[in-house]
Amino acid sequence: MIRFLLKGILHDRHRSLMPIIVITTGVALTVLAHAWIQGVMGEAYTMSAHFATGHLKVMTRAYAEDQAQMPVDLALTGTGEMVEQLAAEMPEIDWAPRIRFGGLIDFPDSAGETRAQGPVAGYAIDLLSPDAREPGRFNLPQALHSGRMPRDEREALITHDFAEKFAVRPGDSFTFFGSTMEGSLAFHNFTVAGTVRFGSEVLDHGAIIIDLAAGRQTLAMQDAAGEILGFFRNGRFDRQVSQQFADRFNSGRPPGADEFAPVMITMRDQEGMAQLIDYTNAIGTIMVMIFVLAMSVVLWNTGLIGGLRRHGEFGVRLALGEEKSHIYKTLIYEALLIGLTGSVTGTLLGLGLAWYLQVVGLDIGNAMKASTMMMPSVVRTQISATDYWIGFIPGLLSMTLGNALSGIRIYKRSTARLFKELEA
């Protein structure tokens, strides 16, 4: 029977072409919208985790209260032992001590006088260990725009936009000027090994990346670090497990008078991330739901119109003695076939578009120029398992339901009045 119905659908283009086009378009847009929201949010979270929050973070209580200011004077001490202890207690997590700091970099002229200077945000991370994972987290090999990666503690990476602004090239030297952990003046000379572009306006505005050991030397932070970031080894943030780890760590250190006692917080609990994650998830879900509902209404309407358009045909079929239930059943089967065809083609089209945007991305750098949120300037879609079925909700169900609703009229038709209707 299915082959028979399929033939009917294919031969009568009025019955199939328009509904399939509408369903394909709607399903493709649904898939694309979902992949887009997943991609944008996913990239923003990953970037925030890698650059700022980690999946878990250990810092002093005082630092935690004021971490946006990058207060090196409130840093953790005894970090070597602490990292060893954390690694033993939580082997699922990779721990990375870091120093985030602020200061000024001063580019000298040939006489050693100040030629140009500007404020920077600094990152002291493990760049030089043979098994260093931090360059990967910062995406440094890919972000490298000119020059090369640092080979020793005297070399630094600076952001490309910042380097261009001050006409600095790899090989040039500069002096970092800031405050040490105890508040003294911090002066240190570095050579630019390379320039990087992260694709985030907030970071590209002005940042330097130096090795952790160089940071400790510059800022007089031996065996100290502003923060120790923890990353799940599988790369995925697990809300429940991270909360368990944080609770276990903090339970042995009840809140007290010592503002320099370490405290562990999860990614969700940092810098308004919980609100951001909940808000964006909610907005994302609402957007997709609205889209799915809107498409469902459109496709339902298509089903209804299709059903109504065939009022005459059903009359003839009833007059020829076909059972009402059989007509209704074939109507539903046809709707299922059209919905299935449209959903499959729409999903394929949506996945194709999403794949293209996942590979090529969309440059929103100009729109993000004034933004302080850590967002990539090129946003991409992210295809997930959901994208393979989400389009079938509006595509299949609404088309079928629309036809099922319009088909109810079949049962209300009186056989005695059929010929009168047909004569008219």
Partner: protein, 244 residues
Amino acid sequence: MNYKILCLALAFLSGSSPAQTAGEIIAKVDENLSARNRVTESAMTIHGRRGSRTLTAKSYAEGTRKAFTEYLSPAAEQGTKMLKLEGQLWIYSPGTDRTVQISGHLLRQSMMGSDLSYEDMMDDRKLTEIYDAAITGEESIDGRPTWILELTARVTDAAYPKQKIWVDRERYIPLRQELYARSGKLLKTALLTDVQQIAGRWYPMKMLYKDMLRQGKGTEFLTKKIAFDQAIPEWIFSKAALKQ
């Protein structure tokens, strides 16, 4: 009659004229605090959140436009020099052998982790050059009668648009200072104590500054030795002196 005699006697004892204006008071404060030049040896103790540390320094100042400071201790700061010339500030670091100019908003940053900013150290102008004053009250601080003066900047580049100072009525030295932002927010306080007479002028040898926007117990600035109107060689106030 008895009341008039009592008033005259009190005025005589306090050493001040009852008709003194606020402008005259801050002019006398300027006479005490400003000099043609001065050479100072000082110790600055910064009481931070993690502990305290003391820096010692020797400074030379010529009027209000030239100043040179060399840090003598601790070892981390030894040899660091600062030069102020006509509103510009340079810092020399012996570790890097670099001289860096500090300008713009950085001047408002904490100097050496203290409660003082570079701007605080640089702005040596006389009070009479910057502020209009008004007497708003009288109060006693540690048993010493003071006038409370409200100072409002009449120049646009004042580090603090408003100040409130408690001036010792006998010695014309501020014993307490409150420094405000234009919005009226209290930014810093200073307590000036151990007032000594040096070369015919009164001078507070100990000052406790507190940045109200920072946590910590403030910064003590102790003048160990001060000499006014000395013969300071001109080369001291040059960039060449930074590297010597």
